[in-house]
Symmetry: D2
Subunit: 305 residues, 4 copies
């Protein structure tokens, strides 16, 4: 296994030069585009790492999986999906045209930004601080590491420059999708995107979904049902508007973030996290996709097989 | 003339019951849907009024004509139209999808909300108060009445509930169309929409455009060129997405507002304002359009004749 | 099992009255809206039927699964997906706006009409008759029944009234997506949609996909890889723009047709076909979805579990 | 005047090199991109020509003005506008997305291709030949020249390659906008686009609209009202999606064609035709627009003045 992962990282490093680090905020832009790492946990809980797996990076959109979980636990299936849809969109993750063109206004799914912001607005708590703390605590329990936190520089940059997300949020506020105070909900959202961990820690998140809500230490944290819902979205909408192609080529429930991380939760034998900040044109880690494709093919991981 | 205007008002009252007062804020909703008025200034400066012409109402989108004028005077043609386009859209006045779907982002024209907000952000001034004061003063000079002010209730309601406009503004901020502080620009915009006058005063605004920048009292206030630009937009985009039909049926440069007002500035003989808060499905005063159609046909006012 | 299927049919019949038989051509419209049937083949090849499983109906969009298979076999993965994408769209199955709005023109996936027409145009053959014959023969081998044919009335009606599909085809011809003669490709497409079978026969098609290209009689007909591709599309795009919700609620690769059929190919234990011509607003059999949801939940069939 | 026109042509020639001849069919592509001409008829019927005014070219979209006239005369205002709208679109002339996205399906105006095809389908006649003959005869009477005909090469090329127009036509057939046989209506449409004349002859068409339906020889051919309608569309939609900018910069009812012609019908003193096959990115003659802008400014022709 170790040798194979080393080979994957070598392949990932080669392709990384064709990608581009996310440049919309300085804090992301300065990340080394050459970093590539992969961490794998097998069904016997053995952990394998290769490449840059101890570098901290922000998880960005990967956080949408856990915010959906907490919203489902807090509000229940019916409430969450009365406000947010279940359909892939075919549009970019930061698109908002369908909020206007498809009536009634309902973000198409919880994995695009609009849907994720709406989901985050549903987290229970008396203040944005409390809401975020509840979410962060869930991350800490899932990963089994109380040191998990968020990157303040990234958060502040996101908050300052996040006007596209702000635009969506006000649109949804106007349409009654969001009923909380907009800036407070955005505050939680920008913080959750700035949660930071390394590739190995991220593999624990993948493990948690692979095992339907039981973490690496064996604690059952959320219901099977809610994990199954999240994994379904990971297939249909987890890789932005490259989800369909990724389902064909990898076929494992996965979620990417523009920070360069990807989690892949095979229900069979492997929980995988990859890291590689150089992104392709759809916003997915170019090395990550390469490695996951190779790993899935070799191990027959596609759930469509 | 007086008899004919009385006849028009009678016709307007009959059709008003088929329209609906703008209901998005309480302050507008409580307006009497049965009000109908028309004020006409002829080429000899004679003024004729019929119906409810002394009721104050907010001018709403009609303010976009004067904010465009001041932006053109402040910034010049090239700057203004580097940020805002000149094309009709075919979409509703509060649509923002084209901000996303047509690249680079540029609101299509200064008469839709997105374009008008961008235009307002260009008004010179050290603060939103100073910007608005400069705009309000221009209104007072044009109409020749220093008592013109804005309706605070309406303004506060617009500010509180204007999240669709806020959404557009943040989108344009993100895209670099607006480079001022968003909430400050919106503040000026919400105030300008809340400027209040009666139908007779509004006819003075129509007169000013009919006479290419010279007001009823004979003062030349802005350049012919800038008035001509505004009048062109009044034909191509002045009546929301009913502009094309209105150009066919009335054919006079006009601008409507959801407060129920319309100005019509024939370059020939007549300057007209109508009032009628009951709106049709496109957001235009149903009685106003009826009266203007009859008046234009009788007097051969279409500029396309 | 038999009792359980009878219960499902009872549930299906109850909900069928809330749906509506496809009405765009007379031949479909006259189908009895009360028909409901289900056929199940288990992993031991036992066959269970309940309800109206011996009524012939046209398979419509279900044919897209087999036409994609033959195009993949004829042209290879790279060629097919150079012309047709892999992404869900979020739009209706007969939408063509993305052909214009997303450049370069490429139908988003092979399960929407535009993509399916493009796929059908790739089937090899010297004439439209030969192309269709090759496709029909594949159906016959898969189902193991040489009597499978198509309904001429339905075909002629589709051909006569299929101007929306014709519109898409000419758009794609113009954009270079289709390089065959348009009317000939449409002819094959209209015929494939008119292929007729009953629910039990349809279950054999589901079996074939469940078993990665081996039919009920044990013949290996196409490659595992190509079946896997089709099953992936069945999850991401198989149920029109209800695919995402269906993936959450049923979670089994499935394909529906407006004739009222659905195939569901669990890779675990069951191959299922349902029939119920009363459709919901998305164009899927309302009774079929109800029965499949119940069956999947009871038997834990979701591939995301 | 002659000297001034010579100066305009000099300016036109200079800018022509920045444009591009329409290249979608060979017959258009081989036109000399350096041709520039202008013909002006003043209010005393004096005719002035400068540059390449005796070269025949196809009038393309300029034909939409006359086909609208004949449809209005044949069917009346109410019928025509029950099928085709009156609003500018903001989209390209060959766009069809709004046919799908705005319900009920109704091409937005008679100057975009979709609307023009629908209008042409309304021309009375027992066959496509008779329909076209009636249209051609109207052209001959308007221009006062029985030798006016169409270019068969261009017509055949348009017919062969016109799949985008075919796509629109079938969409509209499906939606009930067109109720004639599609290929027959397209046949008339492709022929009308291929009607050929030179710049001087085209100026006679401009004269006819300037004079509300009376031709250069003094014959009253159609009603004032219908000419007024056409001229209104010439302002709001006559220059493709550059109409708004052109209204600001030239301000004269005008219609362009991708063959390089433009007619401009000032109701004041001048009827103008320009020719210059090099087009800008919106599909309008780059030299033509330059010359018309200069001419309008010098002579104060804007109807918004």
């Amino acid at each position: 296994m170790q040798n194979y992962l080393d080979l994957l990282v070598k392949n990932g490093k080669e392709i990384a030069s064709k990608g581009k680090v996310a440049g919309y905020i300085p804090a992301l832009k300065k990340m080394n585009s050459n970093y590539v790492g992969i961490s794998v946990i097998d069904s016997n809980k053995n952990i394998f790492c290769s490449g840059n797996t101890n570098i901290d990076f922000t998880i960005q959109s990967i956080s949408k999986t856990v915010s959906l979980l907490i919203a489902l636990e807090d509000r229940g299936f019916d409430y969450v999906f009365s406000k947010v849809g279940m359909e892939p969109t075919g549009d970019a993750f930061n698109s908002l045209k369908k909020l206007e063109t498809v009536q009634p206004t309902k973000p198409f799914n919880p994995m695009i930004n609009a849907g994720a912001i709406a989901v985050t607005s549903m987290i229970k708590g008396d203040s944005s601080d409390e809401k975020f703390e509840r979410l962060l605590n869930l991350f800490r329990r899932i990963i089994g590491d109380d040191s998990i936190g968020y990157n303040k520089n990234v958060y502040l940059s996101e908050k300052e420059t996040g006007n596209r997300n702000r635009s969506m949020a006000y649109f949804m506020k106007d349409a009654g999708v969001i009923d909380t105070e907009v800036e407070e909900s955005l505050d939680v959202y920008f913080k959750q995107c700035s949660i930071e961990m390394n590739c190995l820690q991220l593999a624990k998140l993948a493990y948690f979904f692979s095992n339907n809500g039981t973490n690496y230490e064996g604690q059952k944290i959320v219901s099977d049902k809610n994990c199954e819902i999240v994994k379904t979205f990971m297939i249909t909408c987890g890789m932005y508007n490259e989800s369909g192609e990724y389902a064909i080529e990898v076929g494992v429930p996965s979620k990417s973030g523009v920070g360069g991380g990807i989690i892949a939760s095979s229900s069979k034998n492997f929980s995988i996290a990859t890291f590689g900040p150089a992104l392709n044109s759809k916003g997915n880690s170019i090395a990550g996709i390469k490695m996951l494709k190779m790993f899935s093919e070799k191990n027959n991981l596609s759930i469509f097989r």
